[in-house]
Amino acid sequence: MDRRDALMKLFSAKGVKVNTNRGEAYYNRLKEMMQKRLDELSNTPAVTKTDINKVLDAEGLSRRDFMKWASAITAMLMLPASFTPLVAKAAELMNRVPVIWIELQDCAGNSEAILRSDSPTIDELILETINLEFNETLMAAAGHQAEEHLDEAMKRFEGKYLCVVEGSVPIGAGKEWCTIGARGETFEKHLLRVSSKSAAVVAVGTCATFGGVPAAAPNPTGAVGVQDIVKGKPIINIPACPANPANITGTILHYVLTGQIPELDHLNRPKFAFGYRIHDNCERRAHFDAGEFVEEWGDEGAENNWCLYKMGCKGPMTFNNCSIVRYNSGTNWPIGAGHGCIGCSEPQFWDKYATERPMADSHFKAPTGGVEKTVDEFGLGLLSAAGIGIAIHAALSATAGKKEEEK
């Protein structure tokens, strides 16, 4: 980032305020626009044969389940309840939006989270029906055949497809060791080529958004997020490790509905998902305010589901909706399972959030360099140095000093 960009960023950081009531006129206009967009989409031919209704039938889910899901997603997207039929229709038209999903330095954890869950939720099924043109993990093709298919899809849906990226981009020394495909394209070139012809780029998971685990100190590959590489394209970041399928579906649905990207915060995260802190909707919040903390794993506090702040929970400084949406069909989430939040949806989370200790006990690089200390250790060192200095000055004053004499 050059200086100008840095300065602009410094003074233009947006808050995370989410305006959930913009008045009737606004919503009427929005509804009209969405209606028009959906009509246009339904007139285009479906690119895949997968139909959401067939998928739901196969899983034994009723139309009623589907509508219940649609109203929940409407609420999540912060739209009034009258938008539910539109959201349902958009979900049915998901097979008209081409998606090219590429993987870079990652563990495929986001794909796994979506595709391999035990009992798929409608969120996950929706992603089965999208027109997934290219995905290394899923497709049968390999080598030149896969490359050809990618080229063809990019050409056919030029300017229309969503480019979903999973994984970070190595740009440091040795980046040429990370190549993909039969042509040996580096990750950076691959990303730039595929994103250049897309309508928008969706960075899924913390690696793709902020570099994530590969970017953790000492960041041997010089890993960065998609937004550091791709310029001049709308970028939506859906961080977390893994990104919640509900947030991915919500973002794609928003795109299907409006043809636009949702309202984003200063880190390009959709506000509907990242507009509030884990802490504020946490089921253990009352224990935080009461000062009741788990002191060690398995103690009385842990048995009573007390607050995990002292075990290093970073819920108070992490913006995400896990505490509401949860994971795995809403079964549970880390804090519900008794482990604190590690702040996986925030930048540099591995180095600065996932320390498993409260902030005051977390190790950080002391300003003196190299040595890792906690803030309190550094502070006590500072106080000791000052105390010694004062003691020496006092002793020398007492022995060598000169008191003013009265005349």
Binding site: V16, A286, F293, K310, M317, M359, G379, G401, K403, E404
Partner: protein, 234 residues
Amino acid sequence: MRPGYKKVERMTTFMRINHWVVAICMVAAIVTGLYIGHPYYQTLISEPAVNKYVMAWNRWVHFMVAIIFDVSSIVVAYLYFFSRFEKPILKILPTPKNIVEFVMVFINLITFNRVKKFDSSHADSFNTVYFLIFHLLLAWMLFSGLQLYVHGLESGHSSIGDWWPWVLHLATDWTVTVTGGTYMDVRYWHHISMYFIIVWVMFHIYYQVWRTIFWQEGDIAIVFGGSKFVKDNK
């Protein structure tokens, strides 16, 4: 009054009240701030939560003293320029006279009062610059603290209106960028700065006591009675 000495006014009533309010707030902010950063007492005492708000009360006290600090800081910043008593800004500007005075007072300190070549009847440049360091640290705590505070107002609403979180974002979002780009960095630096302030307070108290002992002008009385005594050379 002892013959040969004259009384000089050094702190107005307001300055003295402000000093002690700030001193008490400082102790309260450190005690509660350490608890917020790492809750160090009361986890397993008493029954399950019934009207028990240990963290909530600590945060309440921390925010209350913070607001008192903020208001005091605004007044002090005004007085730097417009005080009718002594304008500190005149002692901070790097004029040749101020630089000489600053150096002479510093020499006085490191020679253990063997050399004293300045007029100690009014606020000197060294002490004023030292206070400026404190006020800058306090301003930093104000901005970084309000940034941490506004994270809890993510709805964009507050009891005093939507303008408040908006102003806080506008005024404090830069603290995230300058500390390293994450909300954790602001917390680290807010916490580390507390130690710098404690170091500042340690030397401040030591220096005022030291002056009282070695200068024999009753400097420690300034903050209570508002005046000290200097030799009358007339």
